[in-house]
């Protein structure tokens, strides 16, 4: 486990680094936000821990920079300020958690462990339902046959697979799969149609229920 740690107060930086290293982490410690952004771009980390108030570049700006590059590494803020607005700003900048100074070392390392657990869960490789398997890594749909899927098809099906207990609206799917790209309910309908044909083509005993502009849901069916 590799941690990027940015803290401008030398004493605190050294003691936290020593503690985390003692816990078995590899720690790259830097003293401002600019260095943190550079390090994050140059190396891959499992967790990023950032102080908010730092010279040259503050932690919030640094994390924004890091997120802009598409980096989704879990991040924790250390903040001296207990103001709600600061915590909100940090979380909105892309942080996953925060700790208010002063904090206990044990709590920091527990939060790092907790984030690690969640990311591992997010890193699911295969989702399944009925006789269906969606291989997220290979972008492949498998049942009695295998077929490749386009990137958006993977995201769309994955979203339906995560919500088999309920119907998902076109609006939700647009937000989840297309986020900021130009797309509308016709796009969703087209990709639902692609997926339906592909589910049939691999002879999945799963189908997508729902009509154009209606909510969609995966349903298990008998073999055709």
């Amino acid at each position: 486990m590799k941690i990027l740690f940015a803290e401008d107060e030398t004493d605190l930086r050294e003691v936290v680094t020593a503690y985390l290293e003692y816990q078995g982490y590899h720690v790259d410690a830097v003293s401002n936000g600019r260095q943190a952004a550079e390090k994050a771009a140059a190396d891959a980390y499992d967790t990023i821990v950032l102080d908010v108030m730092m010279p040259e570049m503050d932690g919030v700006t640094a994390l924004r920079r890091i997120r802009e590059t598409g980096n989704t590494t879990p991040a924790i803020f250390l903040t001296a300020k207990a103001e709600v607005a600061d915590r909100v700003e940090g979380l909105d900048a892309g942080a996953d958690d925060y700790l208010t100074k002063p904090f206990a070392m044990e709590e920091l390392s527990a939060r790092i462990r907790a984030l690690g657990r969640r990311t591992r869960e997010y890193r699911i490789r295969i989702q399944s339902f009925g006789n269906l398997e969606l291989d997220l890594e290979a972008s492949e749909l498998r049942a009695r046959n295998a077929i490749g899927l386009a990137h958006k098809e993977v995201r769309l099906l994955s979203c339906l697979l995560s919500n088999t207990d309920r119907s998902v609206s076109s609006e939700e799917l647009l937000k989840e799969v297309w986020s900021n790209e130009p797309a509308d309910s016709d796009t969703v309908w087209m990709y639902i149609s692609f997926l339906r044909a592909k589910l049939r083509s691999v002879q999945a005993n799963v189908t997508i229920e729902g009509d154009r502009n209606q909510p969609f849901r995966l349903k298990e069916i008998g073999y055709v």
Binding site: G148, M190, F194, A197, K198, S201
Partner: protein, 207 residues
């Protein structure tokens, strides 16, 4: 010394059976085109298996090199391949072939719905075709097997590459090639299915 012909007196009939079948396929293709304004299939190939490779196959199967073995025990002496633009067209061709008079389906395998583990996709049919001429058993009317493979252009391209690889004995890291070829098959199938879906949606939109 030249070997006597393996197909013997049947070889003329074999050609006529093959020609009649391709004519029948071309005929329903023509009718379809007149009706819908688009081709039902892209192209069609046919071949009589060369005597040389038929002998090799018979030896491999431990069969006697006789017209009976070649024409009654082995079913691919006459082969036709129909290559279509779209998956639905493949199934339409299958349906029409079944309606050709004098043809009985002996075996059909849908490797499009059930792709082979290596990724191979095609629709295979073995037909028994009746002809007024005698067959390898000397019976009249005679019966000849015709093997038909139907597939899309994408599947055909894939099969051509797979065929090339199969006959190249020494490929370094063959496992990687097999794996990537399988991935290509699944991606091509993905495009075939997507294009078919788009085609249907365009059609429904125009109705």
């Amino acid at each position: 010394m030249t070997q006597p012909s393996l197909y013997g007196s049947c070889s003329g009939t074999m050609r006529r059976v093959m020609d009649r079948m391709t004519e029948q396929i071309a005929a329903f293709g023509k009718t379809y085109e007149l009706q819908y304004g688009e081709k039902l299939y892209e192209h069609l190939n046919c071949r009589i298996k060369s005597e040389e490779s038929m002998r090799e196959k018979l030896r491999r199967l431990g069969l006697e090199e006789t017209p009976f073995s070649a024409l009654r025990s082995v079913t691919d002496s006459i082969g036709i391949r129909v290559v279509c633009l779209f998956i639905d067209d493949v199934y339409e061709c299958v349906r029409q072939i079944k309606g050709i008079p004098g043809c009985t389906v002996i075996l059909e395998k849908d490797y499009i719905q059930n792709a082979k583990p290596n990724g191979y996709r095609s629709y295979h049919m073995i037909l028994s075709v009746e002809t007024p001429e005698p067959d390898a058993e000397g019976k009249t009317p005679g019966h000849y097997y015709v093997e038909i493979q139907l597939r899309t252009i994408a599947m055909d391209t894939w099969a051509a590459l797979e065929h090339e690889m199969k006959y190249k004995k020494s490929i370094a890291n063959q496992e990687l090639f097999i794996q990537e070829l399988r991935r290509c098959a699944n991606e091509l199938a993905s495009c075939d299915v997507s294009m078919q879906t788009l085609k249907r949606m365009i059609r429904e939109g125009n109705e």
